[in-house]
Symmetry: C2
């Protein structure tokens, strides 16, 4: 994978994923659509005209993870697209201006020391695979798009982690969040 | 200033700045041009067709600065565009894949604890004003574009800081760097 990797999530009538549900968690939701296509690479061609909505992000360098944490993640995490991973969830999130006004050490303190974001996420490995896309600097409506995939029998593990993360101090800075549930077509 | 702020540096025949010199520091240089225009805002219209080159970046949240460091910077730094600041320098920099493969704590350690990037920069305040633009996630040829402006009599302060930064461990990860010297027209 070439990093930074540009990715476009295109909702409409075609794509490898059927949208089973769009849940509005915080703030404005996204319009309903039948299917979602995932286009990778900045030169990837897609018909934005036909789309109900398009969200764009870039897989980039990590912003908070330390060496020790990356080693722990890499020893357990699985790639996206395993044959068994027929369920996926896309979660676009926007954080408040207050979050972005914090300095790096203040954000890290809330993110991990106080909210245990990485440690909570590790509990879902290796069953749930994950990829983070940064959107804020692209002028997008959300700051992050996180994609998860897993086998249907591991949906409970995913849901547990999601509940735990949303109860953290970090999530008090989330001012828009939508949950898009998907099944492989 | 609305952050993230998208900025395009357009080299060609028109613009508020005359290009007095383009110095190739490391790697491939940029073509010579007569003038440089600075366009702010993503909706800003410019004729890229007429340009010799265009570099784009985004003023975004800081990635390394701590609260203590930001307070020290903010107590001394001046805004861009002071009437006396008739000299400017644009420095596009790309860092190596080795840099980007490091974790946040490893990059911070090299950036400040070992290379004293922030402390060296503070020595040029308030005479030299500075703005950092992030480019890597936009798919640009450089990772960062830094813009400096200052009065002609303070050129020595700027040059001193530049020499000091280029001698740091951090600069061993720079694999392309160009220095564009400008005079207000």
């Amino acid at each position: 994978m070439t990093v930074p990797l540009h990715v476009a999530f295109v909702a409409g009538t075609s794509g490898a994923w059927a949208i089973s549900d769009i849940v509005c968690v915080t703030g404005e939701t996204l319009p309903r659509a039948k299917a979602l296509a995932v286009h990778e690479g900045s030169s990837s061609a897609y018909r934005a005209d036909d789309a109900t909505w398009v969200l764009r992000g870039v897989v980039s360098n990590e912003r908070y993870v330390t060496r020790q944490e990356r080693d722990a993640l890499e020893s357990r995490q699985q790639p996206l697209g395993r044959r068994s991973a027929t369920r996926a969830v896309l979660i676009p999130v926007r954080k408040s201006p207050q979050w972005w006004a914090l300095t790096q050490d203040e954000r890290r303190e809330i993110f991990e020391e106080r909210s245990r974001h990485i440690r909570i996420g590790i509990a879902a490995l290796p069953e749930v695979a994950r990829r983070l896309h940064h959107s804020r600097d692209l002028g997008e409506p959300f700051d992050f798009l996180t994609w998860f995939d897993f086998a249907p029998e591991h949906a409970g593990i995913f849901d547990g982690v999601l509940t735990e993360l949303r109860a953290t101090d970090e999530w008090r800075y989330v001012d828009r969040e939508v949950e898009i549930r998907l099944d492989r077509r």
